[in-house]
């Protein structure tokens, strides 16, 4: 029985998929997500309720993110980067592996943090309850939160002490996994592939420039930076490096990235003392 049912649902699914042109992803309307108004979020001991966020969303968010949560609000033409399409359930800032849904806490943190160098401000003015309600509201736009669970957050070991050896080891990781292909050897976002980068919807996108003093979009603590390259920023060219950088090496890389940043840091000072040179893009693999 189940086989038949699966067969039919797959067939119907296949027909629906094949009937659509590749680039046009389904656009849901209110009738699709209204049944999900009972969506909840759980942040610590706070429970967010989607239906309670309707007023805040209409007042503060709708102008960019749109009535249908598809990122197609009135301001869409005027803002860059473009507002997030909540219907797809794809988010940059996650503690979870690439290709999985973020946790409620991830969305909660994003709302409070805002997105540096975008039109998304810090919404720390909301109470925690209001933010939790907005998280549930954001989730109610995508059918993915009905059938799928968020990914399991990656494990971040405690941050070790910064040492000259660790900074040098971080430079080796930077060279080995070739961060410079996009971010440039000095972190100036001018690597050979930087000019052709596109997001998942084919829109031009810039690599992060470490040297301008900007804050990374998904947070600027050491743990944030660790998480960014280990989970990747879904919807953008930034891939997950979780399979290719070991947890200990990841901390080394965090320390090295600090040396590229404009902001003053212990790491930057140590790199100066070491006389650390930028990586050589022409050196054969493993010979920096």
């Amino acid at each position: 029985m189940r086989t038949r049912l699966q067969t039919w649902s797959l067939l119907v699914g296949a027909t629906a998929v094949l009937a659509l042109p590749m680039t046009s992803w389904a656009q849901l309307t209110q009738a699709d997500f209204e049944p999900r108004l009972s969506m909840e979020s759980h942040i610590g001991n706070i429970t967010g309720h989607a239906k309670d966020a309707k007023g805040d969303y209409r007042r503060y968010c709708v102008v960019c993110h749109g009535e249908n949560g598809d990122g197609n609000g009135e301001s869409f033409p005027w803002v860059d980067p473009k507002p997030r399409d909540f219907q797809l359930g794809i988010f940059k800032c996650r503690s979870t592996p690439t290709g999985t849904l973020p946790t409620d806490q991830d969305l909660f943190d994003t709302i409070a943090r805002g997105m540096d160098r975008s039109n998304m401000p810090q919404w720390s003015t909301f109470t925690k309850q209001e933010r939790a309600d907005l998280v549930a509201w954001v989730k109610h736009f995508s059918p993915r939160w009905v059938g799928e669970k968020p990914g399991t957050p990656i494990t971040i070991p405690p941050e070790p002490e910064v040492t000259a050896e660790r900074i040098k080891a971080g430079r080796d990781v930077f060279a080995r996994v070739q961060c410079w292909k996009c971010h440039g050897v000095l972190g100036q976002a001018n690597g050979p592939s930087a000019s052709t980068l596109q997001d998942d919807l084919g829109r031009p996108i810039a690599a992060f420039n470490f040297t301008e003093g900007a804050r990374p979009k998904c947070g600027d603590t050491d743990r944030d930076i660790y998480r960014i390259f280990m989970t990747g920023l879904d919807g953008t060219p930034m891939p997950s490096f979780a399979d290719n950088i070991k947890p200990d090496e990841a901390w080394d890389l965090v320390f090295y990235l600090r040396t590229l940043m404009k902001q003053k840091s212990k790491e930057k000072q140590m790199a100066k003392q070491l006389g650390l040179k930028p990586v050589d893009p022409n050196a054969p693999a493993g010979q920096q």
Partner: protein
């Protein structure tokens, strides 16, 4: 109480019928499986495939020191046979078998080999890299289908990435670091085949019956044909795509 008995009796009947149907179905298909063969051709001159400038990555351009890599959007042989066309049974209602073989999608000389990889829904495939340059492997399915996009780095010497897809879909895959690299995962349910360099194909394991066969080409679109397969026999379906 009585209702519950009636319910379980009904359930057993349904389950038994299904088991019997499955068993018989398998029996019949195992005994009389046929195939569908044919050729896919291009009508008109093969479109010019642009050469790829890989000079931004010296590793890639060096790998092609003795040849000129070109885009693979339309690959036509000397006799007009079209390569990389996927043929599948679009009205397949049989069981959704999942092959246990693990096909490989390799990143070699900054190109995808093969350019088009067809597979069953749920079948595990493996992404490998033979290159001494970092790639990121970034499939872009429509998340509304149940297939979710992901994006993983593969630096030199990286271990293979093993994945599968949940739903039938033609999924473009690309590397953001090398923007010319693009390929396809064609995820289908039921028997399928991919054309060779001469445009020839054979779909094996087709039970007797009447089918609609669809031919999919990444830029030329799809075509369908009705095919009848007799027990142990071979149906034929030839397709011609007009050059654009």
């Amino acid at each position: 109480m009585r209702n519950r008995y009636r319910y379980s009796a009904l359930l057993s009947v349904v389950v038994l019928t299904c088991c019997a149907a499955l068993f018989l179905g398998r029996h019949v298909s195992a005994a009389g499986e046929g195939k569908i063969t044919g050729t896919v051709k291009l009508d008109g001159p093969a479109p010019h495939m642009k050469g790829i400038d890989m000079s931004k990555d010296p590793y890639c351009s060096k790998a092609h020191a003795n040849d000129t890599p070109t885009l693979q959007t339309v690959v036509a042989g000397a006799s007009g046979g079209l390569e990389n066309v996927v043929l599948y049974i679009s009205d397949w209602s049989g069981p959704a078998t999942v092959s246990t073989t693990v096909p490989v999608f390799d990143q070699k000389n900054c190109m995808y080999t093969p350019h088009v990889l067809a597979m069953d829904v749920g079948q595990t495939f493996k992404v490998t890299t033979s290159d001494q340059t970092t790639h990121n492997i970034h499939p872009l399915p429509n998340p509304m289908t149940g297939n979710i996009p992901w994006n993983q780095s593969q630096p030199p010497g990286a271990a293979p990435v093993e994945k599968s897809w949940k739903a039938p879909e033609m999924i473009p895959v690309k590397c953001n670091i090398h923007p010319w690299m693009n390929g396809w995962y064609v995820v289908v349910k039921g028997p399928y085949a991919t054309t060779d360099a001469n445009g020839n194909f054979t779909i094996n394991g087709v039970p007797p019956g009447n089918y609609t066969v669809t031919a999919w080409q990444e830029s030329l679109g799809t075509q369908t044909a009705k095919v009848t397969v007799a027990a142990g026999g071979a149906g034929t379906a030839d397709f011609t795509f007009k050059a654009k």
